[in-house]
Symmetry: D2
Subunit: 361 residues, 4 copies
Amino acid sequence: MSGNGFGTLFRFTTFGESHGPAIGCVVDGVPPRIPLSEADLQPWLDKRRPGQSRHTTQRQEADQVKILSGVFEGKTTGTPIGLLIENTDQRSKDYGEIAEQFRPGHADVTYWGKYGIRDYRGGGRSSARETAMRVAAGGVARAVLNALVPGGVVIRAAMTQLGDLAIDRAAWDWDQVNANPFFCPDATSVARWEDRLNAIRKDGSSIGGVVEVVAENVPLGLGAPVYDKLDADIAKALMSINAVKGVEIGDGFDAATLTGEQNADEMEIDEQGNLRFLSNHAGGILGGISSGQPIIARMAVKPTSSILTPRRSVDIHGKMVDVRTKGRHDPCVGIRAVPVAEAMMAVTLADHLLRHRAQCG
Amino acid sequence: MSGNGFGTLFRFTTFGESHGPAIGCVVDGVPPRIPLSEADLQPWLDKRRPGQSRHTTQRQEADQVKILSGVFEGKTTGTPIGLLIENTDQRSKDYGEIAEQFRPGHADVTYWGKYGIRDYRGGGRSSARETAMRVAAGGVARAVLNALVPGGVVIRAAMTQLGDLAIDRAAWDWDQVNANPFFCPDATSVARWEDRLNAIRKDGSSIGGVVEVVAENVPLGLGAPVYDKLDADIAKALMSINAVKGVEIGDGFDAATLTGEQNADEMEIDEQGNLRFLSNHAGGILGGISSGQPIIARMAVKPTSSILTPRRSVDIHGKMVDVRTKGRHDPCVGIRAVPVAEAMMAVTLADHLLRHRAQCG
Amino acid sequence: MSGNGFGTLFRFTTFGESHGPAIGCVVDGVPPRIPLSEADLQPWLDKRRPGQSRHTTQRQEADQVKILSGVFEGKTTGTPIGLLIENTDQRSKDYGEIAEQFRPGHADVTYWGKYGIRDYRGGGRSSARETAMRVAAGGVARAVLNALVPGGVVIRAAMTQLGDLAIDRAAWDWDQVNANPFFCPDATSVARWEDRLNAIRKDGSSIGGVVEVVAENVPLGLGAPVYDKLDADIAKALMSINAVKGVEIGDGFDAATLTGEQNADEMEIDEQGNLRFLSNHAGGILGGISSGQPIIARMAVKPTSSILTPRRSVDIHGKMVDVRTKGRHDPCVGIRAVPVAEAMMAVTLADHLLRHRAQCG
Amino acid sequence: MSGNGFGTLFRFTTFGESHGPAIGCVVDGVPPRIPLSEADLQPWLDKRRPGQSRHTTQRQEADQVKILSGVFEGKTTGTPIGLLIENTDQRSKDYGEIAEQFRPGHADVTYWGKYGIRDYRGGGRSSARETAMRVAAGGVARAVLNALVPGGVVIRAAMTQLGDLAIDRAAWDWDQVNANPFFCPDATSVARWEDRLNAIRKDGSSIGGVVEVVAENVPLGLGAPVYDKLDADIAKALMSINAVKGVEIGDGFDAATLTGEQNADEMEIDEQGNLRFLSNHAGGILGGISSGQPIIARMAVKPTSSILTPRRSVDIHGKMVDVRTKGRHDPCVGIRAVPVAEAMMAVTLADHLLRHRAQCG
């Protein structure tokens, strides 16, 4: 209720600052007897971990997650799961200027204005470091979904646009996503993206991007209309990720340009006697409830605000200053947002799966 | 918690189906001693009311809101405000086919799949009729904002796109919004929109649109990071509106194409010694907290799913059918979503204003 | 979250003042396809209704409950159930003195101090009239419990003490409860209670009492440790009823005087191979989770604060006054609290039943 | 929402089992700029720590609390406060029998029945060890109350009854509470209590008790009627403590025996022109809202279920067994519940202070 937790029944609450001793979270509401170990969570954290290519920040964080509670003899017990990651790469340095200046595009000025105090070291609480715990909680959510949904739920994300360079959707290949440092599903775009990002990094600049996340094999019926529609909660989940400025479900903003005839997803009964949709403009959600089709969401990520070019700003004393952000930053934070988007989709679906089970059995 | 309420401290919960005896809501958490009467709520309901031009559904609903509690001698008492609107235009008719068929694009199939039962009359709970209570609750929220924020908060929305016809943003004039039946802020677009909509209506078709909502004079500091960021809650609020498929804050999806230099909103100290931003790509929110700039959000509304052209579908018996939706429908539901978008912005801001006051005094 | 709702998944929110046009509530989270009609709710309201004997207030309220939504063709649809009771017996009168005076033992002084405004007519929101909606919501909860728990859940309450006159527990007979105007389960106590209450009423005085509520056939497993223990939520539920000052589970305060040997409820396997407890000191709850034994709770109800004898007090102007409460009041509010206690037990169990189903399937 | 957190705005969520690597919690919603360090929390933990006299369990737990986040340069930042206590006294031992047997009076049987899995080591999640985190969170709540309420809020608890040995209330002296190992406020009772407890311990038995907690200087106005009444939330808070079976506010169950004349707390205006109550039967709460008088609550604690005398029970295989609980146990858990009661009062008041500030400014 106080802003640092997400979910109603599958609910996790995170804590920790970028440069404090540790970050952590509590995942509450996990069903019992679900197989879970640190080995189930670590791969997702490794995927998000910085420093894996020259296209992400060169900070080195081991991001070793520890399970402190809630798991006994390899299975969840139904009690809260405490997760902890110690911060190991806290470079000791002089924060002199940054401590008093508001970096444009960052949360410095609003945290200061809201709280009158601010842990300025590495962005403090507003650092993307917090997203590591989302990914850890997302790992728990995946375990829940896979245990409760026959056949498991497949949640995958990819970058579909780097700056203005959009992929060729016809060339989409999920196997490509982990074969390049951009989580790009279109092999033909990789070289262009690499050139663009090299130029951006060389300039000390940054660039935005678009991430698409798809959840397959989601059962029909998830979502609690009217205000906790599944798409409303996905929108909140994705918009809560650092630097995200837009969220779409299915055709998203393109749907505004369609006619009713174009937009309607027709239905038929297939050979096996099952309901089949002939298209998926809706992105798998109708009236706030999952339809059984793949759930498709997209999010727009703004460019990293930390850039080398000086920008006009002010400091806490009300003086005008020029701010130039040195340090190790992602030229495109959208890249590392890919596993975070997957995680937020996973926790949202796990929560609604339990909510649906509560009401409808 | 069960899906039909919105907000944490300023919280409203709605009930009611399209063709039941009444719809209503409870608004809880309203501060005491705020002037409020039915006359403060009715104008917003009138703005949303159908049948006001030939471009919206010809259903006639008086939508007279009654305050049943929580107001004493013209002021709120701090106790819950019960609001009720009786449904007066419930045409008695044979629902025969519609009762058993799933209209493509509608929530028929998912309600049926989720609940195994469905009030099919007029869309039941999934009808846009529910949004009348959002607008009523939004009226209460406006009263709260105006009482607690010096100078009041101005919340206005407009349609910025009808199908693929976007307005000329340079011609934006708020005074135009209520001067045409489309809530269009650009006088030069009105004629084109009218032609388009006449054609759409004549074809028994429908079209989508984009709505932009702007909140001015919002104090710096609203928003509860990390998961209840102000933009995350606005995204949820807007995405929960019927037919919305996308939400943007500030530059939204365009931000993905910018560089860090372009996107950064620089700051300076103005002549009065106050902080001033030189641009507003962020849409008034940084790190999930309002910055004092205007808050700008947009939402994409899909075309009305009720169209005259037959579409392929199935019925509750698993048989394939052709569905053709007769009746009185909005050719562009985006139009009537304009006051709803304002209302959802208002309730979100009122909630976060109280949350901010709780934590930060 | 704002104080006028109860429950997490089975959640109801009430509104309305004693002398406003109506009171009502929204029950959200009800599972679909559960048979429900006004006829299922009315008997519980009738049981609570005043004016049925000379031992309760002579106010006449028909308390006819209307279902406004959420039920279709005799069954719940999974959407929120709106309930409304119109206030019919609002005697028009001069509230002159009462409007400005704080009645000792009443919430007048604290409402005024908290809100700075107060609907003084008949106690406004703090009137026991609000409990009618608890009883209505409790009726919905009973329907849920009976539909989901094989064999149904039996929830019954009785008065076990009137002032210092305790029943003879050995004479407990549930059939007696509805055979006397005190919900007294011990036929041998009725005459004594009647004498006492006649004397109290003649004096214009009032007296307290104790109510015991028992829930049978509650499945093992309900309760969400650690903070939402089933007994913790029952304690909150009962303590939230007007005039309640104490709550016990099982042996309650007597447990403080026992040794571990006396208190331990031993277990065995019965002839059918089922777990059987040999005693029930725990009141059916261990570690916050129902054990399958009957759940037993008690609550202490203070004497009605409205009495004829003048009491020293102050008014809103800070002047000292003598207050004497005329009007139609219950000499023992404990009596009419009996069906309210049942209702609060029912809603708490229904909520935890859904919560358990969510987490444990 | 999932049971392991408490509070709406000042909200803490705990995790950890008795014999896991650590226990911890997240305190969310703390106002910014409040002085806080580990030194503010440790004394309360030390007060609760076992092994301080021969009257409590001889387990040795250092209970050193670490603040992992949310505090910067000695002050809270408004971000979540992560707290961690490593478990140091986890005796490695064979849990053979206990692993499969249900100890009477313990949560073994209900955890097993609810979850189908159970961390049996030292009681797992149902161990009173969890209360250490309540005490730590209570320390944060005290800091909040002292920072926001002029003059600070004084919260103190004492044991008022050991078994059937009640204190002489006329001899109440708060200074005595920390001068004996029983938190007994009546010096004349200490010797008798010591004799009784020595006998109990010698027998390997246990005994219950009653704890009273008093909060002074609580401002008028805290509490959110109707369902989140201050007394309702205190009742939940105290009833959620391990082994508590009853809760009273003010006169509690004695109020049931009073007449309206006896129970009414009369009011006057004192020499300074302030409202003064002439008695406090209500325990400082009227209509669910604090009245400015001391808040008085009591809780009944059952005897420790772990005793040496064999008790009849069953095991997870459905076989009947005799259970005899060896190990280091508190002969009267009521003693160590004293600082826990204080903590739960503190967190409840801190939460309602913020809630009141939100609604009423």
